[in-house]
Symmetry: C2
Subunit: 411 residues, 2 copies
């Protein structure tokens, strides 16, 4: 009989978000009248910017003519989009990133997982704890780990705590790591890394010949002009880092699907023979063979993010969500809760009251306030005792959620 | 230093289509005035059906309102699209396929490659020869093969010839296979499998507990109502087959990106412990963790394929391309060439004249006729001595291409 990938059997329970959906479904089956407010999954709620819609509508119309029809595009994305990204997201910030180092894709979740396809099975891997679950689960699926312990930590992975105790600056790996996942502004804690902090990681990676997988999906939410948006703003990063970015959160593309990955041309890894090979070439080959590019209409929509109208609209969207984050921070603080993040990221990371577990607090908010958060423990053992609230919702919903939480018994 | 996936080093030269692009680029650099006619890459050329465009335009507009905005959708696709597919593509043809056995994706190329993620590394694999290169290359990348020999055949794969000599009915595997890739209507040969032929494969798979990966991306081009469009039209296939389908070729979605994979719920494979596990569950988990679904606008476009207007428009498109195929078949036959396929598939498989190699004939047509084909050898050793011509182009282009080929020296 055909054999399956047995490593999947090591995955714990459901992937976090489906498990949350399951609990919501069970709750609403019992309470169909409940008007849930979802501050759980980090999904945007506000309309797609007009500039993007206009560009998409124009592209849809063009697809109706033989001259304007677009079939297969380059698997790596259209040059005009790669060029716009290189110019606006990188060169304008002083980063030396070329258009052909940018690979357009349908999502950062896909990319952060797919990047493992071009890497070896014998890398020593470090992740922060808490961590975006896809980094871990995709390594479990690829057979890079041992089984999970009682707290959900998989054997073979090095977990670097990212908690209030260390001011959300994870320690460098105690034993050498070859592959390091970093996400700043951080999901789930909503905290951010300074330039000095990123420099510390780049210096580590260069001295250990390690590769940093840098997830910058939330860079647009950074408010302080001194903070870096890209790891490539840091000296030496081109020698040791790949960066993932997305249009999901800044331009509301979660249901439209466009993202990109930056792979510097000079970046190398070693084969089992010890030969250095270009990661850019491996990723190009991977994408050519296993991916077909992003649809033309969607890429035109993404390009419009960089028009002046698009930039103004994205700024308004981001500002709106960050006002929500400020409301959440302030209201929860006024209830006596300890809150972190939410200043340069759309997530607020809340300490659960009275030593409740993450899932207990999740269930309490679901049942008493009809508010959906995300249990911190779902992001890793060090996330236990926290809950993540997302700023992605309408103003009225955020205010109502805060009012309802204020009426909960938090003692 | 970070280790890479060393298996990539075993891949031969470039992936076929990029290599063709390279030769075209070199040719046009020397002959910028040449008016190339592309019958190479199987990319459609005619406008996206109006029904799809209308649905997409409406969806784009809806994304501009808070009520009509769609963020993350289900990773497996929207139920309304899965339902439409189950009804029109399966139940109407008497196939027992449920909506939740249909997984919407951004392409069959991706899916036929990604399916390996949930399968073991120790399956004995059989492919036809010639073969769609992605089936082979994705196995090479996953480390399922040895190095390639001089003819391009990778160690560890069982190649089943699909040639004029066996009337394009590949022999059953001589040594048992656990995983069998089949594509009918076939890419590249343009030939098709009868119900009896598919039954022979299903019977083999059931008696050997093997899994068939059935690529039906070209089913819409079948003209004979007696021929099966789906492997699930064959008795027992639900116990042994996964099917891949796409909107790329029927509805012109190559640049829009929507496809789907059917995984029957009862289908199982074995873990290394010998436990039977559900492939449906593994695929659900893989897609939840490593994929984010297809954009809302695109899924609305795909749904419109099943409207009555959409069905009429797709039928017209398919008929148009199949008229092209008939012209190609007829004209090349009149030149004394042996041609196959092209009756139930948009590909015509041409024997090269006078024992020219595939690449020699490719280069001759490029240089003398300014016509781009695809060398059969690019699809495998048994494709040597053939060239694939695609029916995907305008009528004037197809007729001009045939007139130019008629002026070539085919002796």
């Amino acid at each position: 009989m055909v054999r399956v990938n047995s490593h999947y059997q090591m995955l714990r329970a459901g992937y976090l978000f489906p498990e949350i959906q399951r609990r919501i479904k069970a709750f609403t089956a019992k309470h169909p009248e409940a008007d849930l407010i979802r501050l759980g999954i980090g999904d945007v709620t506000e309309p797609l910017p007009a500039a993007c819609r206009d560009a998409m509508a124009t592209a849809v119309e063009a697809m109706g003519t033989r001259a304007g029809f677009h079939g297969y595009g380059p698997e790596q994305g259209y040059h005009w989009l790669r060029q716009a990204i290189a110019q606006h997201d990188y060169r304008q910030r002083g980063c030396d990133v070329e258009a052909d180092e940018i690979f357009i894709s349908d999502g950062s979740k896909c990319d952060t997982s797919n990047i493992l396809d071009i890497l070896g099975d014998d890398n020593r891997i470090a992740v922060t704890d808490p961590v975006y679950p896809v980094y871990v689960d995709s390594n479990v699926m690829a057979g890079h780990t041992g089984p999970a312990d009682d707290q959900g930590r998989y054997g073979g992975l090095q977990y670097l705590p990212l908690t209030a105790d260390n001011d959300f600056c994870a320690p460098l790996p105690a034993t050498p790591a070859d592959l390091i996942y970093l996400c700043f502004p951080n999901n789930p804690t909503g905290t951010v890394a300074t330039r000095a902090e990123l420099q510390r990681w780049v210096d580590y990676a260069r001295s250990h010949e390690a590769l940093i997988l840098f997830d910058a999906a939330y860079e647009a939410f950074i408010r302080d002009p001194e903070l870096p948006h890209s790891i490539f703003e840091v000296e030496g990063a081109r020698d040791c880092a790949v960066e993932f970015r997305s249009f999901s959160k800044n331009a509301g593309f979660t249901g439209t699907r466009c993202a990109f990955t930056v792979v510097p041309k000079a970046l190398t890894g070693r084969t089992s023979n010890g030969d250095a090979v270009s990661l850019w070439q491996l990723w190009s080959r991977r994408q050519s063979t296993r991916f077909n590019g992003v649809g033309y209409v969607v890429q035109r929509g993404a390009e419009a993010v960089y028009s002046s109208a698009g930039q103004a609209q994205v700024t308004r969207l981001v500002t709106f969500y960050m006002e929500n984050a400020a409301i959440i921070r302030q209201q929860l603080r006024s209830l006596g809760l300890a809150v972190y993040g939410g200043q340069h990221a759309p997530y607020v990371w809340v300490r659960t009251p009275e030593s409740r577990s993450s899932w207990q607090f999740f269930d309490q908010l679901l049942q008493e306030a009809h508010v959906v958060g995300t249990p911190g423990a779902g992001f890793g053992a060090a996330g236990e005792g926290y809950l993540r609230l997302s700023a992605f919702n309408g103003r009225a919903q955020v205010e109502a959620a805060m009012a309802r939480i204020a009426r909960c018994n938090l003692r």
